[in-house]
């Protein structure tokens, strides 16, 4: 008697990233959904506002996609205190930096999730943050009169996340936990795309429903090794040599005005591969297999 069928939410990286338009606010989780990030660069999306850190942030800036960053941490990785493309673009005023901090960011994201125009936060009181970011207003709380920051709601249009597994209906389970920011991004964003290492049967999800970290992603994309060169908890470790190679060319471009290496990197790994599988072939299977976590 049951009529109709439940609609799967599985799609390709190209279909998923087609949701994103120039000028949108994009939120990038951690562990980093690098395959989706590369697809954003491949599509040559422009004027994005991004909530991101690390390689994803730097690569999106290097790829010319970013107008503004909601910025809480832009470390470059091993021994590189600041992400090079971010640093250059910020110092030259080529991107707008909405300066914040993790507790302020999570407050703004929570406000969005809760349908509130703001949430108060204490961390940041006494710092320069409300001075360099006038959207953060000092306020007196209406109960005790204490000084707090009023953080406006931060509303991403699309969140891009990486996880271990999902079923085809958008029930996502992280192994080893999601990164600290992922669930905040998902709750705040209008839409959520999750790339996963593996698709599992719905029955496997229902066997452990409390392990479901996201109940209904708008799109699920199967992208094994999709976090490469970054890590994927329970699956593989980061590819440190690959990251170092990126940092070398990005630093040369940013600090020594030698953009050729970075341009070649972007061409070789972001623009030229048509699909994620093409990218993986270019990286090489042996290299990928050597990154196995345990």
């Amino acid at each position: 008697m049951n009529t109709g069928v439940r609609t799967p939410r599985l799609c390709t990286e190209a279909q998923a990233v087609a949701m994103i338009e120039n000028g949108m606010t994009l939120a990038i989780g951690e562990p980093t959904p690098m395959a989706l990030v590369r697809q954003v660069i491949r599509r040559e999306l422009r004027d994005l506002t991004v909530i991101a850190s690390g390689l994803a942030l730097d690569l999106l800036i290097a790829g010319g996609c970013v107008r503004k960053t909601i910025s809480y941490y832009a470390g470059g990785g091993f021994g590189v205190p600041v992400a090079p493309s971010f640093r250059r673009a910020a110092e030259r005023g080529e991107i707008e930096v909405w300066e914040c901090e993790e507790g302020i960011l999570t407050s703004g994201l929570e406000a969005a999730g809760k349908g509130l125009p703001f949430l108060p936060w204490r961390g940041g009181v006494g710092t320069s943050l409300p001075e360099v970011n006038p959207d953060l207003k000092l306020m007196r709380d209406p109960i005790n009169g204490e000084t707090l920051l009023a953080v406006p709601a931060i509303k991403p249009d699309v969140a891009l996340l990486h996880a271990s597994v999902a079923d085809v209906y958008g029930n996502v389970q992280h192994q080893g936990g999601p990164g600290w920011i992922d669930l905040f991004l998902q709750r705040a964003a209008a839409r959520c795309i999750v790339q996963v290492e593996k698709i599992v049967p719905n029955e496997a999800i229902r066997a452990a429903p409390w392990a479901t970290t996201i109940g209904r992603a708008d799109a699920v994309v199967r992208l094994p090794w999709g976090a490469h060169p970054w890590y994927s908890r329970g699956w593989y470790v980061q590819d440190s040599a690959f990251l170092a190679a990126y940092l070398a060319v990005a630093t040369a471009a940013a600090e020594r005005d030698e953009p050729a290496g970075l341009a070649e990197f972007l061409h070789r790994y972001c623009h030229e591969p048509v699909t994620h599988a093409d990218y993986l072939e270019r990286v090489g299977l042996k290299r990928l297999l050597a990154l196995h976590e345990y």
Binding site: N2, T3, G113, K114, G115, P209, W210, T212, I214
Partner: protein
Amino acid sequence: MPPSCSTAELLACFLARDLNDGEELQVGVALPIPEAAVRLAHLTHGPNMELIFLGARMNVHHLDHLPMPAFGWDARVVRWAESFSDRGHRFDQVRDWQRRVFFVGGLQVDPHGNTNLIGVGQDFRRLQFRGPGSVGTSTLTTHVGRYYIVLNSHTPRIFVPRCDFISTVGWGSGGADARTALGLPGGGPKYCITPLCILDFTPDEKRLRLVSLHPGVTLAQVQAQTGFELVIPAQVPTTAAPTPEDLQVLRTQVDVAGALRG
């Protein structure tokens, strides 16, 4: 000739037909009619509906048989969960509730669909009848795409010109902009269903209006049992009987124990 059915079955089938595929249907405890309705809708035309009981979110369209009694009273319902809507967060994603549908009861309802679960009396510190409290209804009705007011009886003590206390805002003091003026993003109450009739709200004033009378109920009876003047259209039909198909699914796959038939 439509099959005979109880008023509870009539209402469950009416509600079920008003629910759309893809919606999230959240039902609290002690509301057997909505509970049956969402499960009926899920089986008949809602393969993408998500049911939320006791914080467990599920899609059980693939199951041929959804046993009563009441999920809402039975913690074992979590065995069908795919995820938990609460996860210790509960109301951290209300921005996403446009597709969510909810159901509320009440000790009192006023002409604009504001309802009261707090208590009856003039002095809050010495109530004549202390109600159970608002549960999560103030928050849910603020944000959900729409909700239904579901009442187990229809008397002048329930339908009052003014609630002694308001726990959920329907259309406030009236008018199509009543909710936006208060900053309430949800769509407000759509229908109010009772053992006598189905009511909705006029588009401009947002006053309770008679939609249909259940079989055997007269207009005079409804008016006598309502403590204020309802808007009465020129034509008031009888509440449409369930289709035989819906009634069969309800009785054989949802309410197998006959809880709504009594």
